[in-house]
Amino acid sequence: MTGQEIKGDNYSVQYNQETVTIQFQGKLALSGVKDYGPIHDLLYAVVADAPAQMTLDLRQLSFLNSSGISMLSKFVLALRKKEGVQLVVVGSNEMPWQGKSLRNLKKFLPNLKLEIE
């Protein structure tokens, strides 16, 4: 896995290999599971390398629709079976959707580190 970037009209998803951080920016409102495929694949590919810690940086993601939240939730649920990977989700209170939705992730994966700034 090298540094990767997935870009759309209003969003970009960048993977930083050194820090094992996936940074989300913009507004993600893709219309279905299929459209979230590339991001989904990126997340699972990073986990496949079994890093000690993996960070999802959502601070710059101003919107994520329900399909996106569903995709993230499933990813987090999948991590329950994958021990040894510490998932850190960094969010921001300035983004209205994050406050409530990110708490769900913690419920699905109790050892998830949720950092809301």
Partner: protein, 706 residues
């Protein structure tokens, strides 16, 4: 300007004739100018040459004449001195011949040296015989009865024996030379006259001789110059062109000497007279004389050397006249005439040669021009034809690269190369086009096939969606049902973003318990619609079995959906909140959007449901996260449920509708019925998004406690 003119006048020139014309014109011009210059140069040269020749000739004639006419006067002075000193016995002829003899030896052109006495005309002299040039002593005096005796002389000039006696008496005093000397009272020339002794035309230089006192005339000494044959020979031998002439005339026009063989005297003996030049048998002499008379009136008017021209029968004649004078009255003219034709013959020959050469050059130039032009034009014409053919689309063009010019060969080779490349290029292009056409046809065929399939699929899906939409609409609670709900004023609204949405709401009533549920299945389409339908069925089932425990209710619902989703191999899940209403109490469980609690005065409370459940269909055991809260409603209070399609909708300038705006609209219109509140929200929402396409389903349910 000139170019325009040329263009207009000779619209299009042909290469061949143009090149040949240019070649020929150049040669003609060059040869013409060369010929003209050569001819003019020749003429000038002739003029100069003839002028130089005439000057040279007349100068030579003058020099020659001087040698004849200077000596006599010198001799006369010697003899006069000897006469007056008595060294010459003129009167008795006893001595003195040796004196004369030496002079005759020294001066070969002198014909006669003599002296005549003034007493009785005695005479003494030595004459050169005209026939054999032997010197003879001659004298006449009283002793000879004035008949002249002739004696031979020895080598010392002493008389030896008597040769002959003249046949008539002689009186020196009667002779022209004697008279001329007296008349001049000094050195004098006679006119040309016939010599007594020789019978030849003769001119005499004479000098009066006085006694030693210088007062008494004692006689006259004279020296005869016969213009000898040598002078005529001299004139004849002068190279005066081919037919040029030289002659000498005196101031009366009498011929003194002539380069022709014509006799200079007419008549015989004493009656002989000098021939006038104007009466010469020779045409050239006569005409030249006549011309000079015409020009100057008389010969005495000609005082300087003149170069003149005149014509005989249209032929130009160059003429030089040179006065020949001395201090003693000699006044002659040397005339040299040269016909121009003598020189021009050469010039004309040269001109003829030039013309011949010019014609040959011209022929060579034209031939060369035509050949070179053909060599140049042939390949160019080939190229032109080939290019033309190429322009017509016939690309298979090759021209010969074997002209006589390297440049044309290069051009031809370049052309061939280009033609080849073009041909190959076109061939490749055609090949490519055919290939591509085939590919395109293939692709097109695939597309057509695909399109047919797609159409069929679309038709099928369209039919499917149509069915699904109908199911979804069918399963929504009817307005009639909502009205029949006791104790609650309820208004519901749902609009899918696509044909089939993932939103769901339901209102069920049984035994005084009203169950209101609202959910949002992720995504849209038939699958979402199906999930929604299942959810509705499951909720209704649970409501029908009067399941009152929220945990059991939601757990059963979650398991049902979770297992069905797994069977369907679907990625879908949903959020769902269930409200159970009885006697003004509402129990809320399940995770969904915030629930808005509107009090009768219009104030809005937001109820977070995040801790009341989890999304359904993700995990089959969510019991530990299920919770519920109980809310009491006074009449006029109400609850508003909605899906995220409303607050998260964007307008054209990327603004979200937002929960705050929703709350504000509800608050402003809360005094109205549930239907009015719902309508106000929908109207405001539509105003907000304007023409923007709706990205998500929107669902709104308004409940108001009666």
């Amino acid at each position: 300007m000139l170019n325009l003119f040329l263009k207009a006048k000779f619209a299009k020139l042909r290469l061949g004739p143009t090149l040949v014309s240019v070649f020929t014109l150049q040669v003609v011009a060059a040869v013409g100018v060369m010929g003209y210059v050569s001819f003019r140069g020749g003429q000038r040269a002739v003029n100069e040459l003839s002028s130089q020749l005439r000057t040279e000739l007349s100068a030579r004639i003058e020099r020659e004449l001087r040698t004849y006419f200077e000596v006599p006067h010198q001799l006369n002075r010697l003899n006069a001195a000897a006469f007056s000193r008595g060294e010459l016995d003129v009167v008795d002829a006893q001595y003195g011949e040796a004196h004369f003899y030496q002079q005759m030896k020294i001066a070969p052109n002198v014909a006669f040296v003599f002296c005549g006495s003034a007493q009785r005309g005695e005479f003494l002299g030595i004459v050169r015989s005209p026939e054999d040039r032997i010197l003879e002593l001659t004298f006449g005096n009283r002793a000879t009865s004035f008949f002249r005796e002739y004696y031979q002389l020895d080598v010392n000039g002493q008389r030896t024996y008597h040769i002959r006696r003249a046949d008539r008496p002689y009186d020196a005093r009667q002779r022209p030379w004697f008279a001329a000397a007296l008349a001049n009272d000094g050195p004098a020339w006679t006119d040309v006259y016939i010599a007594f002794s020789t019978g030849l035309p003769n001119i005499t230089a004479s000098l009066p001789v006085y006694d030693l006192s210088g007062r008494q005339l004692i006689g006259v000494c004279g020296t005869d110059v016969v213009l000898p044959e040598e002078f005529r020979t001299f004139l004849q031998e002068l190279d005066i062109g081919q037919t040029g002439q030289a002659f000498v005339i005196d101031h009366k026009g009498a011929l003194i000497a002539n380069s022709t063989d014509e006799p200079l005297m007419k008549g015989e003996g004493d009656t002989a007279e000098s021939l006038l030049a104007s009466e010469s048998q020779d045409e050239g002499v006569r005409q030249a004389t006549q011309y000079l008379l015409d020009q100057y009136g008389s010969f005495e008017q000609i005082n300087t050397a003149e170069q003149l021209e005149f014509y005989i029968q249209g032929q130009r004649q160059f003429l030089q006249v040179l006065p020949f004078r001395d201090d003693f009255g000699l006044d002659w003219l040397i005339v040299v005439t040269v016909p121009e034709a003598d020189f021009m013959a050469q010039i004309y020959a040269t001109t003829r040669n030039t013309a011949m050469l010019a014609l040959i050059s011209l022929a060579i130039a034209i031939t060369g021009g035509v050949l070179v032009t053909r060599w140049i034009i042939g390949p160019i014409l080939n190229l032109t034809t080939a290019s033309d053919a190429m322009a017509q689309g016939n690309l298979a063009q090759q021209v010969n690269a074997d002209s006589r010019f390297r440049e044309l060969d290069t051009l031809a080779r370049a052309f061939n190369s280009m033609a080849g490349q073009l041909k190959a290029f076109f061939a490749r292009l055609e090949e490519k086009v055919q290939e591509r056409t085939a590919e395109l046809a293939d692709a097109n065929q695939k597309i057509v096939t695909l399109n047919t399939k797609l159409k069929a699929e679309n038709l099928r899906m369209g039919a499917e969606l149509d069915v699904a939409r109908q199911i979804q609409q069918m399963i929504l609670p009817k307005t009639e049902e909502l009205r029949q709900v006791e104790g609650l004023d309820i208004a519901g609204f749902m609009e899918p973003a696509e044909e089939v949405g993932g939103d769901y709401y339901d209102v069920l009533q049984r035994d005084g318990v009203i169950t209101v549920s609202i959910g949002d299945v992720t995504g849209h389409g038939l699958e979402s619609g199906l999930l929604m339908l299942m959810t509705q069925t499951a909720v209704r089932t649970l409501q029908e079995v009067q399941e009152q425990n929220p945990v059991t209710f939601l757990d059963a619902l979650n398991r049902t959906i979770c297992h069905n989703v797994q069977r369907m191999n679907s990625e879908k899940n949903l959020t769902l909140v269930v409200l159970s209403h009885a006697q003004g109490q509402i129990r809320i469980s399940g995770q969904h959007e915030e629930i808005l609690l509107a009090r009768s005065d219009g104030t809005i409370e937001r109820i977070d449901t995040m801790d009341l459940g989890l999304p359904l269909g993700l995990d089959d055991d969510i019991t530990e996260f299920i919770d519920d809260i109980l809310i009491h409603l006074e009449p006029g209070d109400g609850v508003i449920l909605y899906t995220d399609g409303i607050p998260e909708a964007y307008n054209a300038i990327e603004e979200q509708y937002s929960l705050e705006r929703l709350c504000r609209v509800i608050s402003e219109h809360w005094s109205g019925s549930a239907e009015q509140v719902k309508q106000a929200v929908i109207t405001d929402f539509r105003d907000f998004i304007g023409a923007q396409k709706m990205a998500d389903d929107i669902t709104l349910v308004v409940l108001k406690q009666q």
